[in-house]
């Protein structure tokens, strides 16, 4: 006997309910109980919330919650093929880029790659302490035999951050120009940022095979693109109105205004966004290794899976070191832009 039988009897719906009774899927409670190895087929106990499941027990016509999740599953399965036709070719270049960068970074001999990366650090940061720190960090990673995995992680970060900037800056500019777009865009960005990172992977795993590198590429980009968009939008909106007015008064076209005034003046903010984007893509690297991303994340994962505490901790330390290197370098670059542009 179910708790809510009386309600349906009183409403005179018993016949409607019992017509065509069949076995539905499991209830949520059964599902959870199964996972815990217990039996939940009890109708005694306190009065449950009149949820879909408990109403279903009393009346077969009421759908179960599991049917909803099953429906979503079916939706994805049905949509999968048509979505794949569109998305697969669109995202294929991402796989190529990630694989290409990985190949480039891992097959280049270290005595070429590391000096190049150190030179790059110097070129963007123009800061001696930062460059020395980066060089020492590489030396340390090399000394503990983690150079190759660290460099693999770095290649993923480079590709994803580059794409985030390419995608995020134009979207941010569009949002700063159209209030309507900003209004609809901000909730989407909020969603992307608050969604637990694992949840990203769910629809992606459905759509693409786990062995394709674009899978983690998309997950990282979706998660990490948010700050670039936000800060580009903010940066352009914060550009001094007086300067914009001067640009108008001297007859600049909107294109001239964008490239000669708005983007240069918003650059410090955009760079701050890029810095955050780098940090966020690094945060996704461990999760991405769940779906075959190479690099330090794989070692962390192994540490968790096989309880190889030392392996996990050292790889974690490597990630922290990478994070600090990237952060210091991009912050130094940001400071450099800021000084030559200081207005106030």
């Amino acid at each position: 006997m179910a708790h809510y039988d009386g309600v349906f009897n009183a409403l005179g719906l018993r016949e409607w309910c019992d017509a065509g009774k069949e076995d539905g899927p499991m209830t949520m409670a059964q599902l959870l109980a199964q996972a815990q190895g217990a039996d939940a087929n009890e109708t005694t106990g306190p009065l449950p919330f009149p949820s879909l499941d408990s109403l279903h027990e009393a009346c077969g016509k009421i759908p179960q919650t599991r049917e909803m999740t099953a429906g979503l599953e079916r939706f994805f399965l049905d949509a999968k093929d048509s979505l794949k036709v569109v998305l697969d070719p669109l995202t294929q270049p991402l796989s190529w880029m990630l694989d290409g960068a990985l190949w480039l970074f891992t097959s280049t001999p270290w005595w070429i790659l590391i000096p190049l990366l150190i030179a790059l650090t110097w070129w963007v940061s123009r800061s001696k302490p930062v460059t020395i720190f980066v060089a020492l960090s590489f030396a340390f990673l090399g000394a503990i035999d983690h150079l190759e995995v660290a460099v693999a992680t770095l290649s993923i970060i480079f590709v994803c951050t580059g794409l985030c900037v390419l995608i995020g800056v134009p979207i941010g500019i569009a949002m700063s120009k159209y209030d309507g777009l900003q209004k609809t865009g901000i909730p989407v960005l909020d969603l992307l940022q608050t969604l637990p990172t694992f949840v990203y992977l769910i629809p992606l795993i459905f759509l693409f095979s786990v062995t394709e590198s674009k899978l983690y590429g998309i997950a990282i980009i979706l998660y990490a693109v948010v700050p670039v968009i936000r800060l580009t939008d903010l940066g352009i909106r914060l550009v001094d109105k007086d300067v914009i007015e001067a640009a108008d008064a001297f007859g600049m076209t909107s294109k001239q205004k964008l490239f000669k005034v708005e983007i240069p003046l918003a650059l410090p903010n955009i760079m701050a966004g890029v810095n955050q984007t780098i940090m966020m893509s690094l945060a996704m690297v461990v999760i991405a290794s769940l779906v075959s991303a190479p690099g330090l994340g794989v070692l962390v994962l192994r540490g968790i899976r096989n309880l190889e505490i030392g392996v996990g901790l050292i790889a974690g330390l490597g990630i922290v070191l990478l994070a600090v290197m990237l952060d210091r370098t991009s912050k130094a670059a940001l400071a450099r832009v800021d000084v030559s542009r200081s207005t106030r």
Partner: protein
């Protein structure tokens, strides 16, 4: 009394007619009420619209400095931004060289802003990420002039405003006065006839401000631009203006030759406004003199028509029984008795007060 007022024989370069600006969501609906004369506070209370400008008619003549003066919120910035259509009017027409600015399409408007009008801003509005040289060259860069050509032109004007050698600096490395010199150089580089200056010197301290006013007078003596200058400072207005327009709450209270406004204020508001100025320093001999002088008439000396009363008093060494011959370009044009000079120093009562006083 002579009227060296703006030369009305030539066509004005800019002609503003029946200009209204109402800020709010549906200005066209409120316009009839405003045209009927509903007051600014009433419009705000009843329709939640702000009357920015009401019934503005001004003729701006080529080669002259027209100063628009008024207190904060009187609509000066709104007015000057209509000239290059940074603000759209609610109704009215603005003719520049006979061409209606309101009927221009986007390309014509850009052409007007690029080549015929330049602007100097209160807060300088320089591009902080560009060097001083690039900033001064910006109007030519917009017109896609080659770099070496525009830099040469910018260099020339930077030198002219006293910033030789500062080309490679950035604006934030310069003092306010120097930054505004860059602003002026930028406007001059555009080589436009018309210069709009919105409180260009208001952010500067008094000494620098005087320097800049002198610089502007000097440049104007050479270049004869059509300048529209906005200020809330009467001394500055009197120093620079050929034609003075006084705004209050978006309406013109009085406009004309500044000396004439000083001698014949038509509104108690203007009387209050001019009450505190040093009349001896701003009134000129030509304003106070009697026109015409017999060739054989006895005088105690000569003064120039443009001399201030202060300098005439100094010439007379304080004596009040002297008479001077007033000269302009070597010709005697009138005579000036010290009695008239002293009388002119007494602030005029407004026509309004005069009326109530005699009744």
């Amino acid at each position: 009394m002579t009227e060296l007022a703006t030369d009305t024989t030539t066509e004005p370069q800019i002609r503003i007619r029946g200009l209204y600006k109402i800020f709010g969501s549906t200005p066209q609906k409120v316009l009839p009420e405003v045209e009927k004369g509903m007051s600014k506070p009433d419009v705000l209370a009843e329709y939640q619209h702000v009357v920015g400008l009401r019934e503005i008619d001004i003729d701006i003549h080529a080669g002259k400095t027209t100063v628009i003066m008024g207190l904060s919120g009187s609509g000066k910035s709104t007015l000057i931004r209509h000239l290059n259509r940074l603000i759209e009017p609610t109704t009215g027409e603005i003719l520049v060289d006979g061409q209606d600015v309101m009927k221009m399409n986007a390309a014509e408007l850009r052409e007007l802003r690029q080549t015929r009008m330049s602007m100097v801003f209160q807060k300088f509005a320089l591009l902080p990420h560009r060097t001083v040289l690039d900033n001064a060259a910006m109007p030519l860069e917009v017109r896609a002039v080659a770099e070496d050509k525009r830099h040469a032109e910018a260099q020339k004007w930077l030198a002219r405003v006293g910033l030789d050698g500062y080309g490679p600096s950035y604006p934030h490395q310069l003092s306010g006065g120097m930054q505004q010199r860059v602003g002026i150089a930028r406007a001059l580089t555009s080589n436009s006839d018309i210069m709009l200056m919105d409180e260009a010197f208001s952010a500067l301290d008094p000494l620098i401000r005087t320097d800049m006013q002198n610089l502007l007078l000097e440049l104007q003596g050479e270049l004869h631009k059509t300048i529209v200058f906005i200020t809330h400072d009467l001394d500055e207005a009197l120093k620079l203006a050929d034609h003075l327009v006084i705004l209050k709450d978006g309406e013109i209270v009085q406009q004309g030759e500044p000396q004439r406004i000083l001698m014949h204020p038509e509104d108690p508001y203007i009387v209050d406004f001019i009450a505190d100025i040093n009349r001896a320093r701003v009134l000129r001999a030509r304003t106070v003199m009697q026109e015409g002088i017999a060739p054989d008439e006895h005088t105690d000396g000569e003064v120039d028509a443009e001399d201030t009363l202060e300098s005439v008093i100094a010439r007379a060494e304080g004596r009040t029984d002297l008479t001077f011959k007033v000269m302009r370009k070597g010709m005697a044009v009138g005579k000036l008795t010290m009695k008239e000079v002293v009388l002119a120093l007494v602030p005029t009562v407004s026509s309004h007060e005069r009326m109530t006083g005699t009744d």
